[in-house]
């Protein structure tokens, strides 16, 4: 007697098809933008005529864009530094200490990640306005205090959550062993703890960098005279679409992918 045949598996192929379609859905718009960055016509329409780098050349000559990109870069670097300085101690605080109001602190820290960026933006605006800190106050050649502090406020949470997650997985006994072997708190941090969280810190820094470059809501309200890159593109968009924007978008996409791939490598190494 032969064994009964297994029922035809119709679910798995359907699943693959669905998954594939969703995947395509996620990528298609991006693909469109990138493809049209090479489209040989000022009108973004069908049919497609590939093969020009005209828009990239335009982009390279666009002073407004380049200055905005530089400003974005400076802002992002400052935001990363501040977010790390504030965030790493914050993560340690949450992981290792008990104090009254800890729950409130933790919730407050998570708020900027969840609230619409606009709300964080306008509350910071009212704050700086109230204390009289002008939007351009700060050092020359560097974005003003309000926008830098604003990015720090919005993005430190990212550092805290990432580093906290890593701290939770650390073996506390190693730090005790280090102190047992005559290393004081700072030496223990330097030789034992930090090597274990280094990739999480770097990863968080990269994340903050990327998020800061793309930040619009908080930036819009707190920026002084100089535009950041997303705001510059935003401005262009409001005046209508130029293919130059496609070129800019492509460049941004390439950079983001590079950063995220590096970040993934860093985070993966810790498994």
């Amino acid at each position: 007697m032969t064994a009964p045949a297994r029922p035809a598996d119709r679910i798995t192929p359907a699943l693959w098809l669905t998954g594939g379609l969703v995947f395509a859905f996620i990528y298609l718009p991006l693909a469109v933008v990138i493809v049209y960055a090479f489209h040989d016509s000022p009108i973004i329409a069908w049919p497609l005529r590939l093969g020009t780098l005209h828009w990239f050349a335009d982009l390279a000559r666009d002073r407004g864009m380049l200055e905005a990109a530089l400003a974005s870069l400076k802002l992002a670097l400052l935001a990363v530094v501040l977010a790390l300085i504030l965030g790493v101690p914050g993560a340690f605080l949450l992981d290792r200490y008990q104090f009254p109001g800890k729950t409130a602190f933790r919730r407050l820290v998570l708020l900027p990640l969840i609230l619409p960026g606009i709300i964080t933006g306008v509350s910071l605006l009212t704050f700086f306005s109230f204390i009289g800190l002008g939007l351009s106050s700060g050092f020359p050649l560097v974005p003003g205090w309000p926008v830098v502090l604003g990015h720090a406020a919005a993005l430190t949470s990212v550092v805290i959550t990432q580093v906290f997650a890593r701290l939770q997985r650390l073996d506390r006994a190693q730090e005790e062993a280090s102190q047992d072997l005559y290393a004081n708190e700072w030496q223990t941090f330097r030789y034992i703890t930090f090597p274990s969280i280094r990739t999480a810190v770097l990863g968080a820094g990269l994340l903050v960098f990327t998020l800061s470059l793309d930040e619009i809501a908080v930036t819009f309200f707190l920026i002084g005279r100089q535009n950041t890159l997303p705001l510059q593109i935003w401005g262009l968009l409001r005046r209508g679409i130029t293919p130059e924007v496609n070129a800019a978008a492509t460049v941004i996409f390439a950079l983001s992918v590079a950063v995220i791939v590096v970040w993934a490598r860093l985070v993966r190494d810790e498994r």
Partner: protein, 356 residues
């Protein structure tokens, strides 16, 4: 002789709960002292307070006359071997072992030499360049040991270091540790819940219960002369027969157990009418033959319920008239068929009457 480590009234509270309750204990230089106890007895908390990872709520930890309780761990001349080794995964074995020396700024040449000797001492030569991840559990344990000993601390603390090893390896390591300690002469304070381990290795055992000392003494003292039912039960196998004290005079006591009155050594001060237990080890009991019990022996009648072959001995479970069970360890050749009526006999002085 002044103890090398003197704990005075050491207390650790977590809220209302006292993990360690007014513990006073002196550790002699060069001795192998074991803190023995069930989990929650306070033995690990005590160790951590001595190491410096837990601040005491009250009391003193004196070393060389100075109270080190306020000192951070890195300023104490004490090293610890951790339960799960706590090796630094991003450093080689050599760097792990050299860590303490590095922190104390020992010059490189001397470091090299001492690390080499430490690794030889724990029989790990040739593995200096490996990463801890590449080592077996037993090897990691030795690295942890070397890492601590290379610093020549005045006191070495060991927190159940053999717990994660399999049985055979554990027994081998017990011997090695004991030998090492004897050779080096360093004071070891060892924490374990395994009473057999404690009996094998220690010069002195401190049996802890609920944050306090239940009994402190040499292994022989704790085994032969337990001070309470708890100690008798914890250490080794024993029979415990509950009863009421009939009388106590000097070193001897009598206990009414069911219908019989059994005599034994007096373990503690007991008054007639008190609830107490007679504790007698299975190996002290024999199955009396037709000649019956000898003078100077207690006797109990019962029936054989079970006889379990255990290689070197036969463990005979005897049911008494009132249903209670007594276990006797007899030579394996003895015949003890189930259901056979037997008389259990043991010398009076091998049983003790103890309170809780």
């Amino acid at each position: 002789m002044t103890p090398i480590l003197d704990l005075r009234d050491l207390t650790k509270r977590f809220g209302d709960f006292a993990a360690v309750d007014h513990l006073s204990l002196g550790v002699a230089a060069g001795e192998f002292l074991t803190l023995l106890g069930a989990s929650g007895s306070g033995k690990t908390t005590t160790l951590r307070m001595v190491a410096g990872f837990e601040p005491p709520t009250a009391g003193q930890i004196l070393m060389g006359g100075v109270d080190i309780a306020a000192l951070p761990p890195f300023k104490r001349d004490i090293n610890t071997v951790f339960q799960h080794y706590a090796l630094f995964p991003h450093m080689s074995v050599r760097d792990n072992v050299a860590y303490g020396l590095r922190m104390r700024r020992v010059p490189a040449a001397e470091r090299e030499e001492r690390v080499g000797r430490a690794l030889t001492m724990v029989k790990l030569d040739g593995l200096a360049g490996r990463s801890p991840r590449q080592l077996s559990g037993g090897q990691q344990q030795r690295v942890a040991l070397a890492r601590a000993l290379v610093n020549r601390p005045r006191v070495l603390l060991l927190d159940e270091p053999l717990g994660a090893l399999d049985l055979k390896l554990r027994k081998a390591m017990q011997l090695e540790l004991k030998q090492l300690q004897a050779e080096l002469g360093i004071t070891f304070v060892y924490v374990t819940h395994d009473q057999e381990e404690a009996l094998t290795m220690s010069d002195r055992i401190v049996l802890m219960r609920a944050g306090r000392i239940a009994q402190m003494g040499t292994p022989r003292e704790l085994y032969d002369r337990p001070a309470s039912r708890y100690v008798a039960d914890f250490i080794g196998d024993t029979n415990l027969l509950a009863g009421t004290v009939v009388e106590q005079s000097g070193e001897a006591a009598a206990l009414r157990v069911g219908d019989a009155v059994l005599r034994g050594a007096a373990g503690g001060s007991l008054a007639p009418g008190d609830q107490a237990w007679l504790t007698v080890r299975p190996e002290a009991i024999r199955l009396a033959d037709s000649a019956g019990p000898h003078p100077g022996e207690n006797a109990l009648a019962g029936t054989v319920a079970d006889a379990v072959y255990a290689g070197a001995a036969l463990r005979v479970h005897v049911a008494l008239a009132d249903g209670r069970r007594v276990v006797a360890n007899v030579p394996s050749g003895t015949t003890a068929a189930n259901g056979r009526a037997v008389t259990l006999a043991w010398p009076v002085e091998l049983g003790r009457v103890v309170g809780e």
